[in-house]
């Protein structure tokens, strides 16, 4: 039956106030779910290098890829990676978005600019996900050259937040 043809819906509709006033079944439980993930070899080295203000990747001699973030095995070839490769903190915007809501759903007038930045020296180009800064949202373009802006050494903790954001490279 078409909804438009129903004059009176069966049952009792619920309003938000019914929940607020607990007129309906109401139960509340805050999950206590805490974890301490072992970073292991690859992520551990990545984070340690970030703390020193450096990016590091890995190379597979078999498929000749150089990738970041590092991993101990090549997921294409299923063999151990061959070597650590220090990489520069510059790259190219692969893709980006202008995001007008925060992760907890607040509206923003000035958008956040998450971007995948293909890091120079990776092959074929692969990127890390980060934010762009010091740039007008409307000026951001795919293919734009950017560089990491690091926190001062005493503020770094071994986290991707040791990079504040990437900003456009002012060339020449």
């Amino acid at each position: 039956m078409m909804t438009a043809q129903i004059k009176e819906f069966p049952g009792v509709g619920l309003r938000e106030s019914d929940f607020e006033q607990r007129k309906v079944l109401y139960t509340e439980w805050v999950p206590n779910a805490r974890y301490a993930w072992d970073a292991g070899v690859a992520i551990g080295r990545y984070l340690a290098e970030l703390k020193e203000g450096r990016l590091i990747g890995v190379r597979c001699r078999h498929c000749r890829r150089t990738v970041i973030p590092p991993r101990v095995f090549c997921e294409w070839c299923f063999r151990p990676m061959d070597e650590w490769v220090p990489l520069p903190d510059t790259g190219t915007v692969n893709t980006f978005s202008l995001c007008y809501v925060t992760w907890d759903m607040r509206r923003l007038t000035e958008p956040e600019i998450p971007a995948v930045i293909d890091i120079d020296g990776t092959h074929p180009p692969v990127g890390i996900l980060h934010l762009l800064g010091e740039v007008e949202p409307q000026a951001v373009q795919i293919g734009m050259r950017v560089q990491a802006v690091w926190k001062p050494p005493e503020e770094r903790t071994g986290s991707i937040l040791d990079i504040r954001y990437f900003r456009p490279v002012r060339e020449g």
Binding site: L25, T27, W37, A42
Partner: protein, 383 residues
């Protein structure tokens, strides 16, 4: 007409209390590399499909199935993740082959229990949010209530339950991959602190980290790969009523149902005669007794007596948990059942080293999903 299916490769890391040196991906990769070497396969070329058993709340990542392909060599291939006991995953892999869909399937499960800082809270979150959770009781009381009713119904004693701990932890001393081997006496077990009456501290299997990867293949493929395929003769799984109000407290009804399904498939009428040894869930010591009875190795109420008589010792008529079980190896969460399967495969191949049983042809592995579940899965394997 379903096809025959065999286990043709096993890879596993040791069970360890902590594995701080590796990430979960690195842990699984280690097990996977070993499994492919054992099977003589290249996962990128030869494996058709991948099954992972994992639970988001344990991993600490929602949609954990997105994270499984890389460390198994499963990128760009069919992958599926199911929550359940590890042997549920084995059943899923079995069905993919038996149905004729694919020829070679990998199944993986792992534990990074050491990384879950609030494991009892995660277990509590599995309880019914309306009927049970508001009581805010540590779910370990469920095991205490079950053990209490079981002992009341069967006449099994605290000493008989303690004997399971003594046996399994002593067996673990002969298994180089076990984390919690110990030479205890019954009095040591009985003197341990009470956790949830009548369940004491030593009767609770401690958690461990570890990973297990198995390679399954269709009959003709299996025979071309190895001289020692380990055949899946029967597989079954079953759930009792989950409600704490209406479940069967004394009997492990889920294990009875799972066993019935697997025995029918394998054509087994008398498990005690036709099965040489078993790896049975012993998450809590009394569970081994419950599962022995539920799987038809003896009558309800006889398992404690058989245990006291030594029937389930490595030299007895039915060795049970010669690996050390969960009590001796450490509990690998959802990978616990696959760890038991690894032990059965090693025994049937004659590769169990210093704890090898003589002349074994058929073994059984049973996994229970853990508190507060009434869910279990079983597999019967033959060489």
């Amino acid at each position: 007409m379903t096809r025959k299916v065999a286990i043709v490769g096993i890879g596993y890391t040791g069970c360890r209390p902590l594995t701080a040196e590796v990430s979960y991906k690195e842990l699984v990769y280690e097990a996977a590399v070993k499994a492919y070497e054992d099977a003589g396969l290249d996962p990128r070329r030869d494996v058709d499909s991948f099954v992972t058993v994992a639970e988001d709340f344990i991993e600490g990542t929602s949609i954990f199935d997105e994270y499984t392909p890389d460390q198994l060599g499963g990128m760009l291939k069919p992958n599926v993740t199911i929550p359940g006991e590890g042997i549920h995953g084995l059943a899923t892999a079995y069905l993919q082959i038996a149905s004729g869909l694919v020829d070679v399937v990998v199944v993986e499960a792992h534990s990074k229990a050491s990384n879950v800082l609030t494991l009892p809270h995660i277990t509590a979150y599995a309880m019914d949010p309306v009927y049970n959770r508001p009581l805010q009781a540590n779910p370990i009381f469920i095991a205490g209530m079950e053990m209490n009713r079981y002992m009341w119904a069967t006449g099994a004693t605290q000493e008989q339950c303690a004997q399971v701990v003594v046996k399994n932890k002593r067996c673990a001393l002969y298994n180089p991959t076990a984390a919690y081997g110990a030479n205890l006496e019954i009095d040591d077990v009985l003197a341990a602190e009470m956790v949830a009456y009548p369940l004491g501290r030593q009767e609770i299997s401690p958690h461990a980290d570890g990973a297990v990867v198995l390679v399954l293949a269709a009959g003709e493929v299996a025979e071309s790969l190895t001289d020692l395929p380990i055949w899946i003769r029967g597989i079954g799984w079953c759930n009792d009523a989950p409600s704490l109000e209406t479940r069967g407290w004394g009997r492990a009804i889920y294990a009875e149902g799972a066993g019935k399904m697997a025995y029918q498939m394998a054509g087994i009428r008398n498990p005690m005669e036709e099965i040489d040894f078993a790896e049975l869930d012993d998450t809590y010591a009394y569970k081994e007794l419950q599962h022995l009875e539920a799987l038809g190795f003896c009558q309800f109420g006889e398992a404690g007596i058989l245990t006291a008589e030594g029937v389930t010792e490595p030299g007895g008529a039915l060795p049970v948990n010669v690996s050390g079980g969960n009590l001796g190896c450490g509990h690998l969460l959802d990978a616990a059942g696959l760890r038991a399967v690894v032990e059965v495969v090693l025994q049937l191949r004659g590769e169990a080293g210093s704890h090898q049983l003589p002349d074994v042809e058929t073994g059984l592995a049973f996994g229970w999903r853990g508190l507060p579940s009434t869910s279990g899965a079983v597999v019967i394997l033959s060489n």
